[in-house]
């Protein structure tokens, strides 16, 4: 990326003044080094998003931004329905509500000594991962609709997990306004056998240990200390979300001109929030969010079963669950006035600051946990939303490290077996049905997550709390 295109407004903020059809500025949060490495397509996509009707404030990109579909991955944009604002299927993405949840285990690293290999094997055996894997649950039409309306609430009612989990999930575990009638028969069919499955690609379940604490006060509020073992699960809304994304993207591409929207890029397909198509999409997308929340809840239950068998002394309460690919109605301060906005986060994490009413009482003073997944074999981080983050980019932060090279290139550089052996040499156990998948997800194919997190911290998007390193990784 040519950094001469930007006006540097602080050490970690780079502005693009509106030109042409841009309605608002573009802002990329990153260190100079990360910005230089960033794909030039991110600049193009940030400016394209700034052209969409009803956009408020600026078109933002997080430090892990990379070339996405219409919106950059790591893109954040808020729209005002009263100013013709839009909702965009491309701005949410295919994997609706893909996200991360982290569970405590009440264990310390040394407690795993005797059972590490057995734990890895048991998790791999129990958690359905990879293409073609199926869950144990089959949903008929009525149950499918109940799941799409209820999300993690539905899952808890069905016996997956505990009531106490719900307040530790965004939206209290149930996205309101979901409309299962807007989810096609095909999308539901694609989900029929996929409840409680991890998926593939960059999705994983990891057993991790806390190897560094940066903010002891917040870590204490989160219940984290050095040496603690935690479990993180990264996955989304599975086939249902992918099919909703596919179908609405197509409808929005075809109907955009009819709504008077001249798209700078077809992938930016969107519809006015106040339109039948916009409302239908919101109903379906919210059902997709509930599907993802239910899915992570079922995987949590399976994880707890494995731990209770091998480590009966363990307890696995939920620390928090964040979603990356969403459009949510939130109240933000715009020019001194409180406004209801439709905030798109595409590969970006919500990062609400201390005192926010949507946070559970136990976490409210500390700020929202922002869970940043690394790539396989690299560190993950826990950050916290700050008061500042609400002012920067509508309470948003980065979501992961982002790829540094294509899958294509990764396959040329690594073999799956070699990656597994190298990580085993460092004490990290990988279990995956796909050797090629492991090669495509090799740690070296990703950007340095530490640099991304440092930029997010220093840009004031979220504050670094703790570093996690992998012990066991179940890879889809």
């Amino acid at each position: 990326m040519d950094i001469a295109q930007f006006e540097r407004t602080s050490e970690f903020a780079w502005h693009i003044k509106p030109f042409g059809r841009m309605r608002v500025p573009g802002v990329i949060f990153a260190s100079e080094a990360l910005l230089r490495e960033m794909d030039a397509k991110v600049y193009e996509q940030v400016t394209n998003v700034a052209m969409l009707p009803g956009i408020v404030g600026a078109s933002f990109a997080m430090p892990d931004a990379h070339w996405g579909y219409g919106f950059p991955i790591g893109g954040v944009a808020a729209f005002d329905p009263d100013q013709g604002g839009v909702v965009s299927a491309g701005g949410v993405g295919f994997d609706i509500s893909c996200g991360v949840r982290t569970l405590h285990t009440s264990l310390q690293f040394k407690d795993l000594d005797a059972v590490k290999t057995r734990l890895a094997d048991a998790l791999y055996h129990t958690i359905p991962a990879g293409l073609g894997s199926t869950g144990a649950i089959r949903l008929d039409a009525k149950k499918m609709d109940a799941m799409l309306r209820g999300g993690a609430h539905w899952a808890v009612e069905q016996g997956f997990g505990e009531e106490a989990d719900l307040e530790r999930i965004e939206e209290g575990g149930c996205m309101r306004g979901a409309d299962p009638a807007q989810v096609s028969v095909q999308a539901k069919q694609r989900q029929r056998d996929e409840m409680g499955t991890l998926g593939s690609g960059n999705h994983y379940l990891e057993v991790q240990q806390v190897t560094e604490v940066y903010a002891p006060d917040i870590a204490a509020a989160y219940g984290l200390k050095l040496g603690d073992v935690v479990v993180s699960i990264h996955c989304g809304s599975r086939g249902l979300g992918h099919q909703i994304g596919t179908e609405f993207l197509r409808q929005m591409v075809i109907s955009a001109l009819g709504y008077g929207i001249d798209l700078p890029d077809r992938e930016l397909a969107c519809a006015p929030i106040n339109s039948p198509l916009g409302q239908n999409y919101l109903g379906a997308m919210r059902a997709g969010i509930n599907c993802a929340l239910a899915n992570r809840q079922i995987l949590t239950h399976l994880t707890r079963q494995v731990f209770s068998q091998l480590l009966p002394q363990s307890r696995l309460p939920l620390l928090y669950d964040v979603s990356h690919n969403t459009c949510k109605v939130e109240t933000h301060s715009v020019g001194g006035r409180q406004k209801q906005l439709f905030v798109h986060r595409k590969g970006a994490t919500r990062a609400f600051g201390p005192g926010h009413p949507d946070l559970p009482a136990a976490l409210r003073q500390a700020g929202q946990p922002v869970l940043i997944g690394g790539s396989m074999g690299t560190a993950s981080y826990i950050l916290a939303g700050t008061r500042e983050s609400m002012q920067r980019a509508f309470g948003s932060a980065c979501h992961g490290s982002g790829r540094a090279m294509s899958r294509h290139q990764a396959l040329r550089n690594w073999h799956g077996r070699q990656v597994v052996d190298e990580l085993a040499g460092r004490g990290i156990l990988i279990r995956s049905p796909s050797s090629r998948g492991v090669a495509e997800e090799a740690p070296g194919a990703y950007k340095d997550v530490s640099a991304v997190v440092d930029s997010a911290d220093q840009a004031g998007l979220a504050r670094k709390v703790a570093r996690l390193e992998p012990i066991i990784c179940i890879k889809g």
Binding site: L131, Q189, H242, Q243, D265, S406, H408, S434, E440
Partner: protein, 140 residues
């Protein structure tokens, strides 16, 4: 060198599929081969079972995305992989016979699940030599 072939092209997070063919139909068939090759080695798939598909779109580029998405849907819901395609085009209407077999994880070593075909780097065009190109990025 045969005109009909497929290839992958790099996209930062995902994968591009490109089909080249003497005719538009053949370019669509080649793009479908490239799609399966994102998941597995084509030579590991046997054309044991045939299914029929059809789709329709307002223009030929949207039709390519619809064609690939129809295949992605069949792969996901039938749990099959496909490696032989016969495409017929009449205007903006596509019908196809598609052959493949049930996914066998142990034999096919599937690398990744394809979530959907996208409008990114989407192009369906006649080349200077008269052959056809059909390509887009797929989200994995």
């Amino acid at each position: 060198m045969a005109t009909d072939h497929w290839e992958h092209f790099p996209h930062e997070a995902d994968m591009g599929v490109r089909g080249m063919g003497t005719t538009l139909e053949q370019a669509f068939e080649q793009a479908a081969l490239a799609l399966t090759a994102v998941v597995t080695d084509l030579t590991d798939v046997a054309p044991r079972k045939m299914i029929q598909l059809s789709c329709e779109a307002p223009d030929v580029e949207l039709l390519l995305v619809d064609w690939l998405n129809a295949l992605i849907f069949e792969m996901a819901t039938r749990r099959m992989l496909f490696n032989r395609f016969e495409v017929r085009l009449e205007g903006q209407h596509l019908s196809a016979n598609v052959w493949g077999e049930a996914l066998d994880v142990a034999r096919h070593h599937p690398a990744v699940e394809v979530k959907g075909a996208t409008y990114t780097a989407l192009k369906v065009a006649r080349q200077a030599d008269g052959s056809w190109l059909a390509q887009c990025v797929v989200d994995v």
